[in-house]
Structure formats: structure tokens, C-alpha cells
């Protein structure tokens, strides 16, 4: 026998006790110590419940999914807090997807001009090709990806495109023959190139703004077409023939003259027209939606216009001399003489946080617009930063649906939970009192409960919310909804608790407690109630689901939580017309899915709990 075999045998002997040892140990009780629980297979009812519940795969899946949703909506709002007053007209109804800055690979290294629109971007490459990417559907009928066609529906050959410009919902391009093409929304004639422009052959540049387009000629003249009312532009302004560059805000046009002055091209006296004095020789101008910036030859930047809290006025500190500035929707970027980039202004979408890759590279040119920035390095590489897109799209006020889902989920769940706590409290107190005391108290309480139960739930909740909620602030209204839901939904639990109390009322331990003189209230709430807690738990879980459903129905009808506070129900408010249902499916699909899944999971958990607590019900 080798040593190993001996060792194995010894080990075997240790594990397999010989018959004699077993006999002795069984006879004289010298056996392995089992805990009492193991030996007698005794488990507390709660452990049995837990075990049965754990073995129920469907219920466990429901629990896990629910917990995931719960954690997401509880933690999510901390990461993505909601700005209740947020609305952004340029970001309305953008389809889900993160491809707003996914420029075509063929553009890399060949950029000649880029223009950024609200949800789409266009570019001209050095070989004269036109590129477009992003979310190009700007309304339910207009897709700016559809290039212009002539009368016989053939694509117009635009030739070699050299300059591009994007407005709110239209595109203007200029080719090397000096011809201008425009397409997209044409409600205000902004993409209808007038004859006087078509006859020109010295066009230098094209610009586009909100419902308007502008062309600039070599000899310093500007020609405007589009909405005459919204934008303050005077066609016969005194600077015709002196302009070398234009800047377009959301409602005004400014120009830079050949001799380095900034001029206002409209007639009104407003914050844009009060141009700062002593700016010196201005070399570049740029505009955001509501401000104008000018850069003089010493590298100093001046900002004026409707400078807001968004921070367009907080010019970034840099030791290097700024040589060019560019304006986005609410932010500016600037290029320094050493090829570095600085940015300031609104940073909602990280559009003014310059990324490492851009800081490390030598930048030759920047294209900024709305919420995106494109930087071209000296090697021709294209780098981007800013708004990538929206995971779940945006709604009719340009709000990110994902953020609203997170915050709305927290609100929906909080309302459901508080409503359940209220209804459980009332239900338990009424049921226990009614069951234990009996007699007149029982009759009165049962009649009250009968009436409350018989009233149609939704209309009554709606009427109460409308009558009382009229004069309340939105936060008070949320509390009101919780209370109404709680006040109207306790009857089912009350009946259950009462039945349970009735069945345990005459049991020995209650009689014993009574005989030693325990007070009645103490008997009800300390002796009887713990024995019916399992029923309460199941009922509370199921009514949590019901509360969330009712809240969403109420909010959907406009009588629950009201905008701007999001809940899963009121996010669907206003989705019930065929245009939204068909074209902006993301406005209702995601909220519906998450609400449905969440409620299904809660119901599964409730059913699983009921099966675990009352094994008899499993046989049903």
C-alpha cells in the first residue's frame, strides 16, 4: 500500500463511520449535534413564508425587477435632477437615439464647412459633397434629409457645396457657382430662395436662423428672406455694402463691417442694438439665441444682449489670445492663437465642457451651434462634444423623457406608497375595532365602509381632486392626491382584517389576555393584530399596485399630479391624439412600458406572497 492509499483509507474511515460506532452513537445519544430546528424541522411561520416565496420563481423575478426599477427611480433623480421650469423649443419631439453627433466617416479629414442645427447637422466636404446626420425629422411631415427636388421630382444637382447653414428647421447651402439652395420647413418662406438671390453670382456666405435665411455677398450686402415679423431686420439698413460677416440670434441680425465695427441691422431699440462702445477693432462676431459676442484684435471678448443666468456672460479665463469665437444656443466657444479651445455658458448638455481629447489636440477650426461642437484638428481629424442625443427622446416641451421617467417614477412610487400607508392605517384600525368590539360600532363602521366601497372610485377621486385641489399649490395637490387615494381605498382591507379578527377573537390566547385584565385596545393591537399581519402585508402590496394605477389614471386625465411635476401617468397626458400616437411614439411607449412592467411586478410579488402565506390558496 502506498502512502497515499493509506491516507485515503484513513480519510474514508473518518467519513464513513463503522456500523458499530453508528450503533453506539444511536443507542447512547452520542450523535452529531443537530440544532433543534434542523432535527424537528420546525420553522417559524415567517421562515416558511420566506422559503416558499423564494422557491416561487415568478414572484422572485417580479421582486427583482421591481427592486431594480425601484432603485433606479430612487437613485436616478440624484444623478439626473429635474429642472421643473425647463423647456426648450429647439429640442421638441426629438426621436430617441444617441446619434446627434455621429458624423459620417467619409467626412473625417475632409471638412470644409459644418453647420449645426437643433437635432441635425450638415456639412460640406472639401470635395464638394453634402453630408447630413442626426435626427433629421423636424416635424411630423418634414424630414430635412430629403434633398430638394425639381418639378419632375428629380433630385436637384447642387454641384460642389462650399457653405452650409442650418436654421431651426431648414437648411441653406451655397455651391461654388454662387447658387443658393434651401429646403426644409417653408412656412415663412424661409426656404424659398427669392429671385433677387438667384440672380446674384457673388454670394460669399449663407446664414440661417429661426424662420429666416440670410445671404451675404462679396460686396458686403445682405439679403434676407423668411419671417418678417419675428425677426428684426430692415432690408434697407444703412450698412448695405459694408458687411463682412453676419451673426444671427433667435430674433435679430447683427453685422461686422469691413472697418471693424459691429452694427445692428434692425430698426428696434433693444438690448442687441445697444452695442458696447470702445470695443476697438472688432475682428469676429458670434451670437447665441439671446446674446451677441464680439472679439477685437487684442483678443478681448465683449458680450451683450439678453445675458441670462445661463452664463453666456461669464467669459472663460485664458492666458492665450483668442482669435475666433463661435456661438451655440446658449454657450460660446473660442479658439486661441495656440490652437486651444475655451468654452463658457450653459452647460446643461456638457456643451461647454471641453473634453481632454480636444484640449490635447491642436485645433484648427471649430464649428459650434445649438448644443453640439465640432473641432477640426490640424491633421484634419474631427472631434466632437456636447449633446449626443436623448436615450428616450424628448417631449412636446423639449424635455428629456428619460430624466422625466426617472423623476416621475419616484413621484409615482411615493404617491402609491403614502396612499397605501394611509389606507392600511384606516383599514386596520377600522377593521380591528369593528371586528373586536362588534355591536353598534361594527354596524356603523360596516355601513360606512359599504357606502365608500360602493362609490365609483375614479370619478369620485377626480371630483374631490378638482373641488378641493382648485386653490392648492402643486405640492399641496400631490399630498391631496395621496390622501384621496388613501381615503377611498381602505374598504377591502378593512373587511379582510375584520374577518380575521373575528376568527381569532374567541381563541384561547385572547381569552387568556382578557382574563388577566389586559386593556381592550392593547388586546386588539398587541395580541390580535400581529397574528393577522400577513394578510395586511399581502393586501398592502396589491393595493400599492392599484394605487399606482389609479394615480396614473387620474394624472392621465389631468386630475392628478399636474405638470410640470412628472409622474408616469401625466407623462401620457396629451398623448391621446393620433398625431402623437403615430409620429411621436416615444412619448407614450416608454412611460407605458415602465408603468406596466412595474405594476405587473408588484402584482406578481403580491400574488407570490399570498401563496406563500396561505398555502391553501395555491391549490386554487
Amino acid at each position: 500500500m502506498t502512502e497515499k492509499q493509506i491516507y485515503d483509507k484513513k480519510k474514508d474511515n473518518k467519513n464513513k463511520k463503522s456500523f458499530i460506532t453508528l450503533l453506539f452513537s444511536n443507542l447512547f445519544g452520542n450523535k452529531e449535534q443537530l440544532s433543534l430546528m434542523e432535527e424537528e424541522q420546525v420553522q417559524s411561520p415567517w421562515r416558511t413564508i420566506l422559503k416558499t416565496f423564494k422557491s416561487n420563481k415568478v414572484a422572485m423575478t417580479g421582486l427583482i425587477v421591481f427592486l431594480l426599477i425601484f432603485l433606479t427611480v430612487m437613485v436616478g433623480p440624484l444623478i439626473k435632477p429635474i429642472d421643473l421650469s425647463f423647456s426648450e423649443t429647439s429640442q421638441i419631439h426629438i426621436a430617441p437615439g444617441m446619434d446627434l453627433m455621429k458624423f459620417p466617416e467619409s467626412l473625417n479629414g475632409k471638412v470644409s464647412d459644418i453647420a449645426v442645427g437643433p437635432s441635425f447637422s450638415v456639412a460640406a466636404s472639401t470635395d464638394g459633397k453634402f453630408h447630413i446626420w442626426g435626427k433629421t425629422r423636424v416635424s411630423s411631415v418634414i424630414d430635412v434629409k430629403n434633398l430638394p427636388r425639381d418639378e419632375s421630382n428629380n433630385l436637384i444637382n447642387m454641384g460642389n457645396v462650399v457653405r452650409v447653414a442650418t436654421g431651426f428647421d431648414h437648411i441653406v447651402v451655397l455651391n461654388d457657382q454662387g447658387q443658393v439652395y434651401s429646403w426644409g420647413s417653408n412656412r415663412q418662406q424661409q426656404s424659398n430662395v427669392p429671385i433677387e438671390v438667384r440672380q446674384l453670382n457673388n454670394i460669399k456666405d449663407v446664414y440661417a436662423g429661426y424662420q429666416c435665411s440670410l445671404v451675404l455677398t462679396e460686396d458686403g450686402k445682405s439679403i434676407y428672406f423668411g419671417n418678417q415679423m419675428n425677426n428684426d431686420y430692415y432690408p434697407y439698413h444703412q450698412y448695405q455694402g459694408q458687411l463682412q460677416k453676419l451673426a444671427v440670434t433667435a430674433d435679430a441680425m447683427l453685422g461686422l463691417t469691413f472697418d471693424g465695427n459691429v452694427v445692428y441691422l434692425g430698426t428696434q431699440n433693444n438690448s442687441y442694438s445697444t452695442i458696447p462702445e470702445n470695443m476697438g477693432n472688432v475682428v469676429d462676431i458670434a451670437a447665441t439665441a439671446s446674446t451677441v459676442a464680439a472679439l477685437n484684435d487684442e483678443g478681448k471678448v465683449f458680450i451683450w444682449g439678453n445675458v441670462s443666468q445661463k452664463g453666456e456672460g461669464n467669459i472663460a479665463e485664458t492666458s492665450e489670445k483668442i482669435t475666433a469665437i463661435y456661438g451655440g444656443r446658449y454657450h460660446y466657444t473660442a479658439l486661441t492663437e495656440k490652437g486651444n479651445v475655451v468654452a463658457w455658458g450653459s452647460n446643461v448638455y456638457k456643451q461647454s465642457t471641453v473634453p481632454e481629447s480636444v484640449i490635447n489636440a491642436n485645433i484648427a477650426d471649430i464649428y459650434t451651434g445649438y448644443y453640439q461642437n465640432y473641432a477640426v484638428t490640424e491633421d484634419g481629424e474631427l472631434l466632437t462634444w456636447g449633446l449626443k442625443g436623448y436615450l428616450f427622446g424628448t417631449d412636446d416641451l423639449g424635455r428629456d423623457i428619460f430624466t422625466r421617467l426617472l423623476n416621475g417614477g419616484r413621484m409615482s412610487m411615493t404617491i402609491g406608497a403614502v396612499a397605501v400607508i394611509i389606507s392600511v392605517f384606516i383599514g386596520v384600525v377600522v377593521g380591528a375595532l369593528s371586528g373586536f368590539l362588534g355591536g353598534k360600532v361594527d354596524i356603523v363602521l360596516q355601513r360606512v365602509s359599504e357606502v365608500v366601497a360602493a362609490l365609483p372610485f375614479l370619478p369620485f377621486a377626480m371630483i374631490l381632486s378638482a373641488l378641493i385641489g382648485n386653490s392648492l399649490s402643486s405640492t399641496q395637490r400631490i399630498v391631496l392626491i395621496m390622501v384621496i387615494l388613501g381615503l377611498l381605498s381602505w374598504t377591502g382591507l378593512q373587511r379582510l382584517v375584520r374577518a380575521q379578527v373575528l376568527s381569532v377573537r374567541e381563541q384561547e390566547y385572547v381569552i387568556a389576555a382578557r382574563s388577566v385584565g389586559v386593556k381592550r385596545m392593547s388586546i386588539i393591537f398587541r395580541h390580535i393584530l400581529p397574528n393577522v399581519i400577513s394578510i395586511i402585508l399581502v393586501s398592502a402590496t396589491l393595493s400599492f399596485a392599484t394605487s399606482m394605477l389609479t394615480e396614473s389614471s387620474l394624472s392621465y386625465l389631468g386630475f392628478g399630479v399636474q405638470a410640470p411635476h412628472p409622474t408616469w401617468g401625466n407623462m401620457l397626458f396629451g398623448a391621446n391624439n393620433s398625431i402623437v400616437i403615430q409620429n411621436y411614439w416615444w412619448r407614450w411607449v416608454y412611460a407605458s412600458i415602465v408603468l406596466g412592467v412595474c405594476v405587473i411586478c408588484i402584482n406578481l410579488v403580491g400574488d407570490g406572497l399570498r401563496d406563500a402565506i396561505d398555502p391553501k390558496s395555491q391549490e386554487r
Partner: protein, 328 residues
């Protein structure tokens, strides 16, 4: 039985009067001055003191300065004689405003209830008999899903699928505008418009009721007398339909009666989504227009129906279950 019925009716009247007091005080809490709004139009034409006089006269005429008890008495008297007040928006008596939507609602809901009961009761019985079969499990999963998803999501989905994508049914409305045709054609046109709402309403109610019928039926089937009946050699059909179903009926009856009563409630969401001119839509509209006399009338109607429902279900227990009859 007659004594019991009378007792219940008396109790019903008692509860109704209490509810009317609660509702009256609730509606009195609403800020607003009917006298002021009545004379507001005269403000431009009258001198200030004349205007004040007219205002005070209006107050006196409307009895706004009387104590609450007197006002309640006057209101209750009007209520008993069928005067529910005047609609602020439609400028006609409330009873007239409510009649047409109520008819529409009843018309729609009768179909929904018939379809719903016709489907759920056989389905519930069948799944209880074939418990744990594959079919039963599928139905169980579907009912849990149907139970958990709010009606308006179903409505959105169906509109998207059947109206927008497939174009089989109209998106909303009850008739084709300016429809001309014989009575039968008009009926067909209405049913074509109502197909989707009815589908949505049926699905909404299907899930809960099927689960309930199934549970009651499964309970009844597990009783000893079923074993006895089978042992006697009775046909399975007889065992299920007369032994088990008769006993399962008691818990189901409450639910069925509740559902019949819902014929009158109007379905807020369905009516709103499909733009059907029913009671639910009228309620939403009146709430939005702050036409509180109409709201009040609808709410009183709800209370009456709820109480009647209670009465009917109490009485029907006696019909369904002889044991209850003996006890009373």
C-alpha cells in the same frame, strides 16, 4: 323578506340624506359668488350704488345670506321635486344636460357588460375546471398582465395598431359626421365606431372578473359535496354547472351586480380617449368648466346607483343562497 327589504330601503334613504349633506357642504366650500357673477354684466351700465343694490337684491333672491340649514333645506326640496339646478355652461336645466350622455353611456355599457360577462364567466369556469392546464396558465398570465396595465395604455396601443397602422376602425367619435342612411346602416356605422372602445372596455374588465370567477369556482370545486356528487355518478356537466357553479355564484354575484351598476357610471378614460359623448366625458368637461351643478347631479346619480347596487346585491343573496334567506 319584505321586512328585511323595507329595512334596507329605509337605511338607504338614511345614508342618502347623510351623503347629500356631505355633498352640499363640500360644494358650498367652493369659492365663488353666484350673485356677483349674475350682476357682473351690469357693472358697466349701472352707477356704483345701483350696482350695489342690484347685487344685494340678487343675494337676497338667491338666499345666499340665509343660514346653511335653510339653504340646505331649499336645495333638498328642489332635489326632491327634480330640480337639480341650472348648468352654467349650457344655460339649460341640469336634467336636460345629463339625459343624452347618460343614454349614450348606457347604450355603450350594455354591450360592454354583455360581452364581458359572456366571456368571463365561461372562461372562469373553464379555467377552474381545467386547473393548472396549459390553457389555464396562459389565461392566468394574461389576466395578471391585463389586471396590471391601465386601460389608457390598452387604448393607446389599440388606436396605434387598429386605427393608425391598419386603419380598420376610426380613431374617435361615435358616428360618421353627417351620416345619411337607414336606421340599420346608422346602427352599423355606430357599431363600427364603437368597436375599439368596446374592445378596450371589455379587456379592462375581463382580467379582474375572470380571476375572481376562477377563484370562486375553484373554491367550490374543492368542496366535499362535489366529490359526493361525482361519486354518485352524476354527469360532469351537472356537477360543474349545477353543484359547483351554484355555490360559486354567491361571491360572484356581488361583483356582477357592481358591474351592472357600472353601466351608468360611464367610463371616464374610454370615453375621453375615443371622444364618446357619454357621462364620463360630461363629468370631465363640467369639472374643467367648473360647471358644478352638473358635477353635483352626476355625483348624486353615482351615490343613488351605488346605494341601489348595495340593495340589489343584498336582496339577490337571498335569491341565490337559501341559507341567507333563512337567517334573515
Amino acid at each position: 323578506m319584505i321586512k328585511y327589504t323595507l329595512k334596507r330601503i329605509l337605511y338607504m334613504l338614511f345614508v342618502f340624506s347623510i351623503m347629500s349633506v356631505i355633498l352640499f357642504s363640500l360644494y358650498n366650500m367652493i369659492p365663488g359668488d353666484p350673485a356677483r357673477s349674475e350682476v357682473e354684466g351690469l357693472r358697466e351700465t349701472l352707477k356704483p350704488d345701483e350696482y350695489q343694490l342690484a347685487y344685494e337684491q340678487a343675494r337676497a333672491r338667491l338666499g345666499l345670506d340665509d343660514p346653511a340649514v335653510v339653504r340646505y333645506g331649499r336645495w333638498a326640496k328642489g332635489l326632491l321635486s327634480g330640480d337639480l339646478g341650472q348648468s352654467k355652461v349650457h344655460k339649460v336645466p341640469v336634467t336636460k344636460v345629463v339625459t343624452q350622455p347618460l343614454k349614450t353611456t348606457i347604450f355603450i355599457n350594455i354591450f360592454a357588460v354583455i360581452i364581458g360577462l359572456g366571456l368571463t364567466i365561461p372562461l372562469g369556469i373553464y379555467t377552474a375546471v381545467k386547473k393548472n392546464s396549459t390553457f389555464d396558465k396562459i389565461v392566468q398570465v394574461m389576466t395578471i398582465v391585463g389586471h396590471s396595465i391601465p386601460v389608457f395604455i390598452f387604448a393607446l396601443l389599440f388606436i396605434y395598431a387598429f386605427s393608425v397602422r391598419l386603419g380598420w376602425f376610426p380613431v374617435s367619435g361615435m358616428n360618421t359626421p353627417n351620416f345619411k342612411g337607414t336606421g340599420w346602416e346608422a346602427f352599423k356605422d355606430t357599431m363600427w365606431h364603437l368597436a375599439l372602445p368596446l374592445l378596450v372596455m371589455t379587456i379592462g374588465a375581463l382580467a379582474g372578473l375572470t380571476r375572481y370567477v376562477r377563484a370562486a369556482m375553484a373554491d367550490a370545486l374543492s368542496m366535499d359535496y362535489i366529490k359526493t356528487a361525482r361519486a354518485k355518478g352524476l354527469k360532469e356537466k351537472v356537477v360543474i354547472l349545477s353543484h359547483a357553479w351554484r355555490n360559486a355564484l354567491l361571491p360572484v354575484v356581488t361583483l356582477i351586480i357592481g358591474w351592472f351598476m357600472s353601466i351608468f357610471y360611464g367610463s371616464l378614460i374610454t370615453e375621453r380617449m375615443f371622444n364618446l359623448n357619454g357621462l364620463g366625458k360630461l363629468l370631465i368637461q363640467s369639472l374643467n368648466d367648473m360647471d358644478y351643478d352638473v358635477v353635483m347631479a352626476i355625483q348624486l346619480l353615482y351615490v343613488v346607483i351605488a346605494l341601489l347596487g348595495n340593495l340589489v346585491s343584498d336582496l339577490s343573496y337571498g335569491l341565490v343562497d337559501p341559507r341567507v334567506r333563512v337567517n334573515k
